[in-house]
Amino acid sequence: MNFFSIFGRYVILLSRVFAKPEKHKIYIQQTIKEIENLGFNSVGIVIIISIFIGAVITLQTRYNLESSWIPLYLIGLTARDTLLLEFSSTMVGLILAGKVGSNIASEIGTMRITEQIDALEMMGINSAGYLIMPKIIAAMVFNPFLTLISMFVGLIGGWFAVLLTGALPTSDYIFGIQYLFVPFYVTYALVKTVVYAFIITSVSAFYGYYVQGGALEVGRSSTRGVVYSSILILLADLVLTQLMLA
């Protein structure tokens, strides 16, 4: 299938996803379930990764800025800006593409091959809307909180690294992470996160929804969902950075 054909099917699927729900109450309940499933269940992995990456960024910056001409508080500033501008949005987005994206594609793909999606259609339910819309909304609502958690925990990880290794005085680190703070960087990261959340959920759901065959194809669709959403995240990163920071 060529690019235009795939893109066309994706757009048609989205038009079905955002069609009027059969019953709003049920969709709201589903969205709350998905917030727990896709959002709350990802908090742990985001905290673990962010704390270590925050620590590593701080230590690497310290070892690369050996010059006595450079004030030590710049290490805190660099760690903060790296976390705010790129890591907490894009890197966490890529990690979630792997965790959440494969979960969505395999769940919907399995429902397709076991005829559960046909069963929904037979009941007169818009299966695309019922299965996909709550996931998209849940991720777009909750992922910004994951990004904020990642920023906060990443900075704490850097502080731990400084505390444990003595790479620089903690007062310099604390001063550095507050120095020349640009609030717009947080807005920029949150906007990126919302766009990534849409990409991860819709692209993975697309590959799961149109799967044909058996378990092998579900696995393949899951991989495709992760790969293509990761590529699209990087592309969106480039475009949004140019639009918002240039």
Partner: protein, 257 residues
Amino acid sequence: MIRVEHLVKAFNETTVLEDVSVTFEKGKTNLIIGRSGSGKTVFMKCLVGLHEVDNGAIYYNDRNFVKMDFNERKQIRREIGMLFQGSALFDSLTVEENVMFPLNMFTNMSLHEKQERTNMCLSRVALTDSNKLYPGELSGGMKKRVAIARAIVENPRYLFCDEPNSGLDPKTALVIDDLISEITHEYDITTVINTHDMNSVMEIGEKVVFIHDGRKGWEGTREDILDSDDENLNDFVFASNLAKKIKEYSSAAAPKK
């Protein structure tokens, strides 16, 4: 009643169904039989709109399903119950939630009313103590029964069953067959069953349609099958040694003219 007229369905260059016309009668168990790959599953999926037809018409009590848009079809689909080959129960929901699902989506019944209706349907299929179990905890026969309960929970006018006995032992298959037949007569609905199980045909086949190479090969009752001289039908029906022996026995036992 469901009336099918000159149905044609092709996938790319391959014609799977060619000029199939048949009527499925109300209050009867109508069976579609045929070899694997003969087109009977595609035929059933066309009947319920899971495949779009290329030509022809499908009338549900004089309403042409083929010409309807998505929303019009929704109305018809609410009158349809369907039992899928693999049961198609929702893995994340309990037995009770599965059966209650259509009621949650389409009715404004109170929780008490929904539970009452759900329990009534579950007791109708003889599953009274499995409400809180998940599909993964059920046997194949129990899954089919839950799927039947879900199919009838909204009082359908039409019931479609795709290979209801696949993967079941002969005794459980018989139970499922009897259940479908009883429900058909009890609720006076139009039931269409897709099968290649000759036991089912002989047990509950009030009307039998034989699909051969995408065409209607034969049509009649279960009683007519044994006397049919249709070569393709005989090839299919008497493929097993057991069936051959039954035919020999019934021919020998029949009074000579």
